[in-house]
Symmetry: C2
Subunit: 119 residues, 2 copies
């Protein structure tokens, strides 16, 4: 079946969550949002492109930092309201320079930092 | 630092997305939503508990199907607006009886089913 980004289920702001996962290590790197045009652009260019809710603009991941995400595979979930993108990540994914945005664990009721920023 | 679920960033409906990942295989299983009480209940019981947007009720994953998710580790992202739960998954995670909800890939502009339901 041909894929049409407009057949995905978007929220009231026209956005769908996209989870980025490192295609080699399996590490979940980040979650951000795409609109239908960002989904289409990601597929067309092979560069993960989110929609920045704060800037209200396309956010080609790594365009400024160089920490780009190359699309390896795009997955759609059963409800068509969430995407999983398997990526080849250059550099750290997080704006804090950590490999993943999920660097804080909740253990025994307290927050624990699992990794330091890369240098 | 003590963890307080009210310090997370929730959307206008009081919800935060929670990504469930198999702690052994690294497979991303599903994404669903939690409110602050569901986060607290998940930590307290060790059973992943979402908030069902359709039923407007707690959704203890697997309570009906038996396909429970046991909490192994909870992670918070840098913006505090997304959770990652590493889980021990019993049975398939998807209501279609597939291991993961992300069983459809977009390849060469078409949708491809990557796995069949488990029997």
């Amino acid at each position: 079946m041909r894929f049409d980004p407009s057949t995905l289920v978007y929220n009231s702001s026209g956005l769908i969550p996209a989870i980025a996962q490192d295609h080699v290590s399996g590490v979940v790197l980040m979650m951000a949002w795409m609109n239908a045009d960002a989904v289409a652009q990601t597929l067309e260019t092979g560069r993960i492109t989110y929609w920045s809710r704060s800037r209200q603009a396309f956010w080609v991941k790594g365009e400024t930092s160089g920490h780009v995400q190359k699309l390896v595979d795009m997955r759609v979930d059963c409800d068509r309201d969430c995407l999983l993108v398997l990526v080849e990540q250059t550099g750290p994914a997080c704006h804090t320079n950590r490999r993943t945005c999920f660097y804080t664990a909740i253990r025994d009721g307290a927050e624990t930092e699992l990794m330091r920023p890369e240098v």
